[in-house]
Subunit: 139 residues, 3 copies
Amino acid sequence: MKQIFYDIIVKTKESGLYDFTDQVQDFVKKNKLINGILNINILHTSASLIIQENADPDVLYDLNNFFNKLVPMNNKLYKHTTEGKDDMPAHVKSALTNSHLTLSVKDNEVILGTWQGLYLFEHRLANQNRRISCHFIGQ
Amino acid sequence: MKQIFYDIIVKTKESGLYDFTDQVQDFVKKNKLINGILNINILHTSASLIIQENADPDVLYDLNNFFNKLVPMNNKLYKHTTEGKDDMPAHVKSALTNSHLTLSVKDNEVILGTWQGLYLFEHRLANQNRRISCHFIGQ
Amino acid sequence: MKQIFYDIIVKTKESGLYDFTDQVQDFVKKNKLINGILNINILHTSASLIIQENADPDVLYDLNNFFNKLVPMNNKLYKHTTEGKDDMPAHVKSALTNSHLTLSVKDNEVILGTWQGLYLFEHRLANQNRRISCHFIGQ
């Protein structure tokens, strides 16, 4: 049994979805990971991970827009306001999506549907360096 | 270490929850999977996977109804509208729930609570064939 | 390859977030789990699991408050009402968050960001004993 740990850094510059599928596929290819589990965790609580459609950029726009309306940046709604109007909404949006993705690798490819991409969902407004932990276990 | 990959197809005919627990348990039984991880990914972005109560069908009705109210099928709210009024809401509902379930298998049984069932949550209105990837790693 | 199964019980006394990070870290330390996957499933459908900020308790208050507003305890909104006004909202909140967390263990430590804690999110109002299944696979 083989285990490999690897961190991916995604630089973000505003809220929205950032595709990191290629970075994950490269990691699988370069390390010749054949079959196994690829566990991916984001090490933050104000950004999250989701699998979404990679074909039409409007989907990504609409997703971010929906979450911004659902979880308003209005300090009157929250007690935790010291880190800015976008901070508590960022925690809520993270809770509504995922902190991790658990993927399967088969024949040196991540199993994904044709229209599926891996996205970091940034919920803060200012630039961030987001760290994503990747862990493979298998053969 | 043993690894097995297997696809389940769920045919859906309208939005709502479709129980596929038995198909997963059958897979575990027939392949004599004793202890390990069972990673389940749906290969679409307009349907999702959740674990929910399997006792009262009203729970499933209420869940679907809640999500329909939370994410309205109203084209004025979205830019991505070419695939129908139900398409962008389907992506949002998928983001709000899960694209994968990671289960544990112990003594040839999937570990689930007494009232837990595995559901495909269909968010599109028309008939669909949904593909779910199952991957076992263990003994 | 080593596999260990272990149940954690969390006693809750009202809706809100309950930190169980230490119980998981203790399990990893005591069993000398070096590298592997730690799969954590809650065996209920009216409470859920999330990773959230462990620094400011106001974040936990705001999260619970947001979900209570998003999913009102109003029996007129639901068909499934026999188990109390908090029951169907509890199922919805569970669907909006997670039934499981899949973590990576490296060098005998669970990989978590500095500000990340593991929380059981209780959605029922009365006292509960919640069972969480932990399963390690690795070395």
